[in-house]
């Protein structure tokens, strides 16, 4: 269980090796990597700046990890979220889940991303030739997160 909020980039292979090292009972590792997309509804962007709430961010991500571990049999979880100025194509976020079987790893990674999108205090500001603007929250993200409110077996 580990959370990092950092400016610098991350290496997925190295993070995965660290997560699985020494545990030969892991059968499945799922990763999610979020990247800065160049084309947005407002046109092509040249920069994406990420602001966050130091202190609360780490706490919120740790809470999300705890919730995932309570719900699925996970042998490892890792969340890395970057902040500061990023460019199109840059990595923003990494979520890793390790479990005996693939279903738990897939579901937990999906859950972590849905919760992170709606509960972790980050704000994106896109900049392009036409100026800069804060990204609006998407209703679909709230809907995605809400589907985990029902018991796991109800889906």
């Amino acid at each position: 269980m580990s959370v990092s909020v950092q400016k610098q980039d991350f290496n997925i292979s190295a993070e995965m090796d660290a997560l699985t090292a020494g545990d030969r009972d892991i059968g499945a590792v799922v990763s999610f990597t979020g990247l800065v997309r160049e084309m947005t509804s407002a046109g092509a962007i040249t920069e994406m700046a990420l602001e966050h709430y130091p202190g609360m961010t780490e706490r919120a991500l740790a809470d999300i990890e705890t919730a995932a571990c309570a719900r699925w049999p996970l042998q490892g979880v890792r969340i890395i979220h970057r902040y500061g100025p990023l460019a199109p194509g840059d990595r923003i976020v990494l979520v890793l889940t390790a479990s005996r079987h693939r279903t738990a790893a897939f579901e937990a990674a999906s859950f972590l991303m849905d919760y992170l999108k709606t509960k972790a205090p980050f704000w994106k500001k896109e900049a392009g030739p036409a100026g800069s603007q804060w990204v609006d929250a998407r209703d679909v993200d709230d809907a995605q997160a809400a589907r985990w409110e029902a018991p796991p077996d109800a889906s």
Binding site: G34, L50, E51, H52, Y53, G55, M56, R59, A60, H81, I92, V93, M113, L116, K117, T118, K119, A120, P121, F122, W123, K124, K125, W134, V135, D136, A137, D141
Partner: protein, 81 residues
């Protein structure tokens, strides 16, 4: 009490944080007190439905009581990930 602002709340108020003396009972009361401090505050708080809040670094609601709170943060809906 320490009050923090993020994203466009920060830009509109023009501050990242400030110390506030208040007897506001709830977050909503505090927001209404702040909203009348000037045009920048009025602009930031013009639509409370678009404002989210954390008390002592935990997500809260507009009607959450402020008793015992030492840090309150105002911000728009989060957009990370």
């Amino acid at each position: 009490m320490k009050v923090l602002y993020f994203s466009w709340m920060r830009e509109r108020v023009g501050l990242t944080s400030e110390e506030v003396e208040t007897r506001a009972a709830t977050v909503r009361d505090l927001a209404q007190e702040l909203a009348v401090r000037g045009e920048n505050y009025a602009y930031a708080f013009e639509n409370l439905a678009a404002v989210r809040v954390a008390i002592d670094q935990e997500m809260a609601e507009l009607d959450t009581p402020l008793a015992g709170a030492s840090e309150v943060a105002f911000f728009p809906p989060v957009t990370g990930g």
